[in-house]
């Protein structure tokens, strides 16, 4: 569902461009709104959320899709935790559909998906592992790297039970906005994948902005 935001860039309290292959790990306070913008189109922002009070409570793809009865995320979706609590609301979305089934690329899964020789190519899960290592104040490790959202990715399920990776329906400047219902740690990997036609083999920057 396409819902545009009334928020003005001039009023944002924070704004940062994240190059492809980098991570972004920050705390968002309850009531604050986060906008992720796909600056050049067809990029994937692989995103995880954790309760800032107890990172053992985190975004759960299963709880989210089961409770809304639908596998796609868009405006109106409530992101649910593994304890069944609402964490954030998607309040605006100019892309229309985001994936939460396909997970994040890893060096190991790249060997399976693409070729055994691709084992040393940069991947989202490497970015996340560096993020948790460099941000030990959050007390996280590999066991906290879980099943994520792929903002701007289009992964349709067929009636026969197939999973397809379609060309992105995103485009330059498309964005998604989320308002936090609790204090959350946001962990984004701006996907470095060079083997997937979904991003035209060209990973590009995203922008992250926060409103009070």
């Amino acid at each position: 569902m396409i819902v545009e935001s009334a928020k003005q860039p001039d009023n944002a309290i924070y704004s940062q461009v994240i190059p492809a292959g980098d991570y972004w790990m920050k705390t968002l306070k309850a009531g604050q709104t986060l906008r992720i913008t796909d600056l050049e189109g067809n990029q994937a922002a692989d995103t995880l959320f954790y309760s800032a009070d107890d990172p053992g409570e985190r975004y759960s793809a299963m709880d989210t899709i089961r409770e809304q009865g639908n596998i796609y995320l868009t405006a109106g979706t409530v992101l649910m935790s593994n304890l069944g609590n609402p964490m954030l609301d998607i309040v605006a979305d100019t892309c229309g559909r985001h994936d939460t089934l396909g997970g994040a690329c890893a060096t190991e899964s790249n060997t399976v998906r693409y070729a055994l020789e691709k084992k040393c190519m940069h991947a989202c899960r490497d970015s996340w592992l560096l993020a948790v290592a460099e941000n030990q104040q959050f007390g996280m490790t590999k066991r906290d790297i879980t099943h994520n959202i792929n903002f701007f990715m289009n992964v349709p399920v067929t009636p026969e039970g197939g999973l397809t990776f379609e060309d992105g329906i995103s485009a330059p400047g498309k964005y998604v906005e989320l308002t936090a219902r609790m204090d959350v740690i946001v962990l984004i990997s701006n996907c470095p994948q060079l083997n997937n036609p979904c991003n035209g083999y060209d990973p590009t920057p995203i922008q992250v902005s926060v409103w009070r």
Binding site: G56, M62, I71, S109, V112, H147, N148, G162
Partner: protein
């Protein structure tokens, strides 16, 4: 409606009553056969590497490596490390879920009313979520280690708009699935109802399990050959087993 593969005499057999949990360590070269005795059971399952518990079943990698939403014969269940815990070598059920997670205590209270142990003893109503927590804790694992699980014998379909539905009509007494283990695996499982179950009563459906010695993996093996990706997954797993033993 049972599997047609012949596996000889089982090394071990066990039963899990409905609404219960258990765990097993199953070695490479063994096959686990699960049977839905009455039809309508749900068997939640998680998989871990007993030598490195940080290596665990990864539903997204399993789905995207094989371009599938459902799990059935020919599919492999992948770890987050690009290796195959086990292969689905036979399956008379045809469509197992791995995206809907678990029943929670809150859902039980809302749908059926909770039955406490004090009042109902073994007829109490356990949740899949709590069942996993108990079994995981036996190995030093906890809530942070609870990944997306498989729900065997539960068919969850989507429509063109992505709406999810549990297809109760798929239930068959005697339905079986055979999992051939390609590496040593810690198997955590429960028989609590599927989280989309809307039966009038909390269903208590038993599942039996048997463990066999696996026949050798043939060159024309259905799981090895179902996708190019799986040939690479098998290569990764063989490398790991070969270097580790």
């Amino acid at each position: 409606m049972t599997n047609t593969t012949t596996l000889g005499e089982p090394l071990h057999s066990g039963d899990l009553p409905g609404g219960a949990h258990w765990s097993l360590r199953i070695g490479r070269g063994k096959t686990l056969r699960l049977t839905d005795l009455e039809g309508g059971a749900n068997l939640g399952m998680l998989l871990y590497n007993p030598l490195d518990l940080l290596e665990r079943y990864n539903a997204p990698d399993t789905l995207k490596c094989q371009h599938t939403f459902k799990l059935t014969k020919g599919h492999c269940l992948y770890s987050d490390m690009g290796r195959i815990f086990c292969s689905i070598v036979d399956d008379s059920f045809g469509w197992h879920d791995t995206v809907c997670g678990n029943l929670s205590k809150k859902m039980i209270q809302e749908r059926w009313g909770e039955k406490t142990y004090q009042e109902y003893r073994n007829d109490w109503t356990l949740s899949g979520h709590d069942s996993f927590l108990v079994e995981l804790a036996k190995y030093g694992l906890g809530r942070r280690d609870l990944a997306a699980n498989i729900n065997f014998f539960s068919k969850v379909v989507t429509d063109a708009d992505g709406n999810l539905r549990l297809d109760d009509s798929a239930a068959r007494p005697g339905a079986q699935v055979d999992l051939r283990f390609e590496m040593d695996t810690l198997v955590i499982f429960h028989s609590c109802p599927h989280p989309l179950c809307r039966a009038p009563q909390y269903p208590k459906k038993p599942v039996s399990y048997q463990i066999f010695t696996s026949p050798p993996v043939a060159d024309d093996d259905i799981c090895l050959n179902s996708r190019e990706e799986n040939r690479r997954g098998f290569a990764n797993t063989r490398l790991y087993n070969g270097l580790a033993h």
